[in-house]
Symmetry: C2
Subunit: 206 residues, 2 copies
DNA sequence: CTCATTTTTGAGCGATCACTCAAATCAAGG
DNA sequence: CCTTGATTTGAGTGATCGCTCAAAAATGAG
């Protein structure tokens, strides 16, 4: 039988993720990858095909992890709307712990590579998946009676899909903001304010 | 006296802006710039010093234009809060007319270059200037009695500076969203919803 | 026109880019 | 142990990167 590989694929992907997340796709060179993965070019190409395909795998992994994290946060709160507020508040902690980067890799990729690139399209699909999960949560919130009922008709801005889009706008804006050199406390304040706004807008009295 | 230059500096900067805005800093090569500016390398370097410094001038120009546009929108509405809502709604038109890119160049730059880069720091300063202008507008709104008074004390989320930060979060998120392949109508809907949320949050009854 | 001065040109610089492949290395089977 | 076959290596590929500079072109003064 063939010898077993020296490198763990998942671990390599995590190392590549940290590098791409920090430096962006173009600025991360193969020399950088050699260092991050502790692999020589030949091994990298044997394992992943090309820088572009490696980045695609990294994106998919990142997106999957993000969805899992969202799912965990939502599951921890019996109230769907409360769960969404919790998720926003949790993003306020982005600067509490060291990270490769504070902004969302999917948004970074979408902005850096432009809408034509194959990996940017993958990033878009993953953002769509997040938005779909947000929509599902807002639907659950409506069914739980957590939304302002007199506004929740089919033509109002309180539709779950439209709420989800605004919610994602807040998440994207918050994470872009997190990349600016503001303090951890300021970021928490911003995230908490946004969470309060969400609750205020959805559940305010009529 | 010396011969006059064949190229208009401002026009060259506009061409460079379109290129950098569309492709990003790293992906825009000097070959691309030669085409966009209709100048050969020697002329480009004689005029602008380096790709990095040229990009810095482009950023400064973009930031100045953005501030002017904000000022114009705010001046067109006697109500400060209404002006801020108008500015959000106007961003909903980003997909109505062809553009090099729909996202904000300052955010693109901040995310692509990382917080250490000199030009990323310039982008941050320009974002700060925008946020400062937002704060000024919210202060004017408070003085005009357009904010929910019982919440506008010094420790509340209704402080102009905190409102401005949330407002900028919405703008950044909206413009990042604009880079996704959504229709012009959807983008208008999102922008209008965000504008309504802003009015709802600031001026809702108490 | 000639001259003086400045701008513009573009071939070409060294460095680095993503990537290849023949050879060396290593693990498992016999 | 040796053989087998997949894995790993790293020097080297051509292409492109940002950039330079001596020469050519262009302008205004006299």
């Amino acid at each position: 039988m063939p010898r077993q590989t020296r490198h763990d694929r998942q671990h390599s992907l995590d190392q590549a993720l940290a590098l791409f997340w920090r430096k962006g796709y173009h600025a991360a060179s193969l020399k950088d990858l050699e260092g991050a993965l502790d692999m020589r070019p030949g091994s990298i190409y044997a394992s992943f095909g090309s820088k572009e395909r490696l980045f695609g795998e990294v994106l998919a992994r990142y997106g999957r992890q993000g969805l899992v994290e969202l799912e965990r946060t939502l599951a921890a709160n019996p109230s769907p709307l409360g769960g969404l507020a919790d998720y926003l508040r949790a993003l306020g902690g982005l600067r509490d712990t060291p990270r490769p980067c504070h902004a969302c890799l999917l948004v970074k990729t979408l902005l850096e590579l432009g809408a034509q690139d194959a990996n940017a399209r993958l990033a878009q699909e993953l953002l769509d998946a997040m938005e779909a999960r947000f929509t599902q949560a807002f639907k659950a919130a409506r069914e739980a009676g957590e939304l302002n009922e007199h506004k929740a008709n089919d033509h109002s801005a309180q539709q779950p899909a439209r709420l989800a889009r605004r919610y994602q706008t807040m998440v994207m804006g918050l994470r872009a903001h997190a990349e600016r050199p503001i303090s951890a406390a300021e970021l928490h304040e911003l995230a908490d304010d946004l969470a309060d706004d969400l609750l205020s807008l959805c559940a305010r009295r009529h």
